[in-house]
Amino acid sequence: MNCEVKTIVDVTVLSLSGRLDASNSKEFEDQVVKLIDSGQKAFVANLTGLDYISSAGLRVFLLLIKKLGDKGYIHLCCLQEQVKEVFDISGFTSIFQIFDDEDSAVEA
């Protein structure tokens, strides 16, 4: 799984592509935790290229949002249909703000 990082003003945009599962979730987690520890608080995860997410992947998102707590947020955008379904069924849709495109997610 690939994760490109770019910054728009004070928002860090993470663009994920490929599959996020148990084999690489720790790597992704470490990457974002490092950014949070260095002071980043506002995140947008652009999931246009994310084809698949497993429960291990969901767990990382949960972990990150808990780590940020009240001080920060992670917005999601551009979820593929099957990924949106996973977020819907697991109820994760209720704990993240989800947008259709990157610009809306960044502006929020």
């Binding site: 291990a56 969901l58 767990r59 949960l62 808990k66 069924i89 697991s90 109820g91 994760f92 209720s94």
Partner: protein
């Protein structure tokens, strides 16, 4: 050798000057404690030295010696089964026959007399590289074996917890029940449970823990126990999930979560009440042949956020109708072409078998999934629980 400050070399030669010569040529390395030498006069003494010093890394041995010569020593060494112990032979000039024999008997390299010590040092270093590689491979192998052991323990924990005696309630004629869990090689997360809450109410649960291995197996054990304890307190399904969620959030060290579907079947009336925390929606198989999915309301998995609320749903099972619960190991089973088994395939199968007794139904699904996956490796637990209501 990362941890060893020096290498220990056993030099085997009957020539009386050899020890003096070696200590002289390698005096700098010896003084800097990068090398240490142990000496033997023949093969017999060499074997004694090996048992005295456990950390000999490399052997430098002459071929022609009394008591036991170098070639015989090589045979003895191969019996010791120490693949990282390498031998460099020292042969007489031009003695190709003995050199060939030595190589065939497992010598790593050779040098010829009179010894060129620069060349010998290069040969020693080359041999050491090989030794380090073998030791690293050994370490990695041991680590992998240890991980494999842990995963097996996880699977055993998981399997031991699940009720597996069927028929589960032989004295109850109001329903027929069967369940199965086929664990994937390295997973420890799915569980099912069923229990009588009182004479009229049957509790049914199916769940999927996020993660694999021992942490998942342990979290699964904790979740199952808490769920059952709360359920036996005669709470409604949604209250039960609410309380279990709060329990789990308090104890949750690892940000693990579990999807749970929990239902109560009233065996007098056929009333099925249920609540769903992030789990894939189960099916009711109606007498009409309709396969009715209990669509998920998208309520949150257990263990994620304290204070989560869950809603209650109610359906009624008529005598003859079945309730089929499963985990996504079924719908997400993959074959070699990376196609998913999918819910459509499952629904199709359920449609053709809706009147089957639970055991047959589940066996059919498991077989169908296995046939579909074929020789690809099973990627997730395949778990299912089916109950056929027979009427009061």
């Amino acid at each position: 050798m990362e941890s060893d400050p020096f290498i220990r070399i056993l030099a085997v030669d009957d020539e009386p000057d050899m020890e003096e010569l070696i200590r002289q040529q390698f005096r700098r390395k010896i003084r800097k404690q990068e090398m240490e030498f142990v000496f033997a006069q023949n093969g017999v003494e060499a074997l004694l030295r090996l048992s005295e010093y456990e950390d000999i890394d490399l052997i430098l041995s002459d071929i022609n010696m009394p008591e036991m010569d170098g070639l015989t020593l090589l045979n003895e060494l191969s019996e010791l089964k120490r693949p990282s112990l390498k031998t460099i032979m020292v042969s007489a000039y031009g003695d190709m026959d003995n050199i060939r024999t030595a190589m065939n008997r497992g010598a790593f390299d050779f040098v010829m007399k009179p010894i060129n010590f620069e060349d010998l040092e290069i040969t020693i270093n080359k041999t050491l590289e090989q030794i380090v590689q073998i030791r690293n491979a050994r370490k990695e192998h041991d680590q992998l074996a240890s991980i494999q052991y842990d995963l097996n323990v996880a699977r055993e924990i998981q399997t031991a917890i699940l009720p597996k005696d069927f028929p589960a309630f032989p004295d109850k004629s109001e329903f027929d029940l069967y369940a199965a869990m086929n664990a994937a090689k390295s997973v420890g997360g799915d569980f099912y449970d069923f229990f009588m809450i009182d004479d009229d109410k049957l509790g049914l649960a199916i769940a999927d823990v996020s993660g694999k291995g021992i942490p998942a197996a342990l979290f699964m054990a904790v979740s199952r126990t808490m769920l059952k304890a709360n359920a036996l307190g005669d709470l409604t399904p949604n209250e039960c999930l609410q309380r279990t969620n709060d329990n789990l959030c308090l104890e949750n060290v690892n940000t693990m979560f579990v999807t749970v579907f929990y239902a109560i079947l009233n065996i007098r009336t056929g009333e099925l009440s249920f609540a769903n925390a992030g789990h894939n929606a189960p099916y009711i198989l109606r007498n009409s042949g309709e396969v009715q999915q209990m669509k998920s309301k998208g309520e949150l998995v257990l263990g994620a956020m304290e204070g989560t609320n869950y809603s209650l749903s109610v359906e009624t099972l008529n005598p003859g109708e079945s309730f089929y619960l499963y985990t996504d190991g079924v719908s997400e089973a993959m074959n070699r072409d990376f196609d998913l088994y999918g819910e459509d395939r499952l629904e199709k199968l359920l449609k053709t078998s809706y009147a089957d007794p639970p055991r047959d139904l589940i066996m059919k699904v498991v077989k169908d999934v296995n046939d579909f996956v074929d020789d690809a490796e099973q990627s997730d637990d395949i778990t299912a629980l089916a109950v056929k209501y027979l009427g009061a």
